[in-house]
């Protein structure tokens, strides 16, 4: 008993040795939470470090987890920046008072449609909703890729369409909001109910939908172009098709976290400026990110479908964020709680 207790106490007393916060106190470091895929984000951070000498310490989370974490750490934020993830997260974060407004001077070449009207977050990439199709499946069946929203209702796709659940995935919510903006409330719910009969499942995470298409579990994923192409970097056979009757898009952002580490504030602003600049956004073309730059002077990757070639609608992210709760609740009530066919 005594030996156990002594041993336990000795070990327990060792814990404080690990309790020192390891964030370096000099001004050459920057701590961020990021929703970019890890392999991709390392590329940006390395480039940034190369140019500025500032080391970036990061944690990669899904966009929702990132926001949750920032909210939970509200009283003592560990990170100075939120990097990546669509603007609905940033709008929600700003509403909860989690963000420090900052607008980069590098935003001059960014179209106004992408900018934050409240001046809190900074847009850094954009991507349209696409139909991510499994090449093999379509070749096998001899079908053409769907090109309109109505095409998806074809019974030949029964159990082959996949998207995330709008309540849990920002991507899926953008799909939902796009359909509503495109068709109007009543027609949209009717459409979604019909689409539901072809739906394989509503996945929990946004990335799970294109991944299921990569693995052949479904033929078509409704997702952002850059997410849909992500598995192709691993060699999976996916090709994109965009609805010709109009599609929504997401703007990805970066923003300062309110009351983040004081010694990192300047570095954080430097990073935002860099990420908004052509130097930062030229990276998208170099690292299989499949992202479209928001800075019109930056170079898009060869072969990448940029937004001017896609029939985009005037997607209203602020409106979408403001009605998210109601629409996801309605989605649950009308679509996912409906009796299984």
């Amino acid at each position: 008993m005594k030996r156990f207790l002594v041993l336990f106490l000795t070990l327990a007393l060792c814990i404080p040795m690990f309790a020192s916060t390891t964030a370096l106190a000099d001004s050459k470091s920057l701590t961020v939470y990021t929703a970019f895929p890890e392999a991709e984000v390392i590329y940006y951070f390395d480039k940034f470090t190369e140019e500025t000498g500032i080391t970036v310490n990061y944690i990669r989370l899904s966009a929702g987890e990132m926001l949750t974490r920032v909210a939970a750490e509200k009283d003592n934020p560990l990170a100075a920046l939120m990097v990546g993830g669509s603007t609905d997260n940033y709008i929600a974060a700003a509403e909860q008072g989690l963000l420090e407004p900052y607008q980069s001077p590098e935003l001059a070449a960014t179209p106004e449609a992408y900018l934050d009207p409240t001046g809190t977050w900074n847009p850094v990439y954009v991507g349209a909703i696409a139909f991510a199709c499994n090449k093999e499946w379509f070749a096998d069946k001899g079908y053409d890729y769907p090109t309109t929203w109505a095409d998806l209702l074809d019974p030949k796709y029964q159990g082959e369409i996949i998207m995330a659940h709008p309540a849990t995935s920002g991507t899926a919510y953008t799909v939902l909001a796009t359909i509503i903006q495109l068709m109007g409330d009543d027609a949209a719910w009717e459409y979604l109910a019909q689409l539901d009969t072809n739906m394989s499942q509503y996945t929990k995470s946004g990335a799970a939908a294109p991944n299921a298409v990569a693995l052949g579990e479904a033929a078509i994923a409704l997702t952002f172009s850059h997410d849909g192409l992500q598995p192709t970097a691993e060699g999976y056979p996916i090709e994109l098709s965009f609805p010709t009757d109009g599609t929504g898009y997401e703007v990805g952002a970066v923003a300062l976290i309110k009351n983040g580490p004081a010694d990192e504030q300047e570095n954080a602003k430097l990073f935002i400026d860099w990420m908004c600049s052509t130097a930062g956004q030229n990276c998208y073309a170099e690292n299989d990110s499949f992202r479209v730059p928001t800075n019109t002077e930056a170079v898009a990757a060869e072969g990448l479908v940029t937004l001017d070639k896609v029939q985009t609608i005037e997607y209203d992210a602020v409106w979408a964020a403001s009605v998210k709760k109601d629409y996801t609740a309605t989605f649950e009530e009308k679509i996912t709680s409906a009796p299984e066919a």
Partner: protein
Amino acid sequence: MAKTVGAGGKSSARTKKMNETKMIMRQPILLVAVIVVIATLLLFVAYPLIKILLFGLTTEEGTLSLQTLKEILTSHRYLSTFGRTLLLGLIVAVISTFIGYIFAYTITRTNAPCKGFLKMIATLPILSPPFILSLSIIFLFGKQGLITKSLLGITSNNVYGMPSLIVVQVMSFFPIAYLTLSGILESIDASVEDAACNMGASRWHTFWTVTFPLSLPGIISGCLLVFIQSLEDFSNPATIGGNFTTLSVEVYQVITGSYDMRKGSVLAILLLVPAMAAFLLNKYWVNKKSFVTVTGKPTQARKPINEPHIKYPLFIFCILIAAVVILFYGTVIFGSFVTTWGYNYTPTLMQYQKALAYGWSSMKNSMILALISAVLGGLLGMIIAYLTAKRNYYGKGFIEITSVLMFAVPGTVLGIAYVLAVNTKPIILTGTAAILVIVFTFRNMPVAIESGTTTLLQIDNSIEEASTILGANSGRSFRKITLPMLRNAFFSGLVYSFVKAITAVSAVIFLVSPRWNLVTSKIYTLFDQAKYSQAAAFVTMMVGILLVFIGIFNTLINILLAPRSKKRKPTK
């Protein structure tokens, strides 16, 4: 032998409790132990949970409100999710414990061949992050599955849903039942069973009248532990559940998808209720019976069952289960050597190079932190088991309940509770390694406590009493008598904590920091990016390293805790 202690009057029970409390007050070591344990539990279990509870039941302005709770309790959707979660837990608990029992019985009672192999199979599934099994089932039985498509030509198979979830959860959790039960079965005195046999009872009769009743506490604990694991499991239902949602997934969705941490907290509280009920049931049921079999009287080595008609059916059952486990893990290993899992099967070693380059430092972090927390948790677990199994004093109830509470809290909620609790003054631990060690210790300790307690309940009080009468103080009695018997329990608790710490996913997602990133959050990220082969390589390496570690643990513990008598000179 199974003596029923007559329930005394309420007042005499209270007097007894009072007396025992006084007795503890007089023994400084015990007193310190009780105080230390209560203090740590208050700080690291009660406080975070109260924090999240209050968070769930207050409004933005901080006033008490039951609005969210009412909303959830009247929602058909949440209630049916609740029901489904319980049903799943029940089914998985029963099947897992059944399989675990057969494995434990075959290994401890028969001389069936390949017992070492069976032992390995029965512990393997706890060595890997659970979602890897979900992925295996997709690769084997999905639309492009190796078995369904390539072997049987079926392409319309829907692998997502409850049946797959049951299979995957049973495979992930039956080792917990096995570990609990093998400890119990081993500690049942061989002479009891032999006596029954010698008196002419058939093996079957002996089993049902002697072995089975004596192993009942283990069966109940096994069921309880598996049930709770199934309730709080997040990664399997999230990967393979399809449209079948469980409560822990719902909690995660509400928090990270709808950004509604309040509703999430209330749902989490809802999830705690059945887990607590399971715990109380266990306590009530197990403690009502006396399971004394280690009496101190001379015992002989167990005679293994050799009858072919008993041995072989059991063996075949185990081998079938083993085949399924191997099939699933084989798929993972196979997948780690191909270029693009599920699509391009060109063999390659590239995945291992990538995985090493990408995650070696996080692997090292996981090992270090898991090791520290496993030792801490194992020790604390044994102390708590010792403090609660046989004594009764004021404060014991608190220790008993809080010490196992963390086990039942869904990982996501646990993570958030800790962030809420240790990110404001006076305690700021976020971003440190300490927070991870603490979470692992308290989350995984209940297994050590459970196996410690069940072991202790089997030891007749008279042994320790005899030791005390002969002049040993309680510390000495503990060391010489109880400790060696706790060795198995300590070991299984330690291994479990270590492994669970390394394979934990949802609990750490909100707690890892740039300096202390962990291997599972790296693997989780690989899944998100469809880098399945690299994830498989990662998991294969992890299992390999864990096996080595467990081997080292095993040897170390045998050396450290070997009975002293061996070293002593034969003469006085």
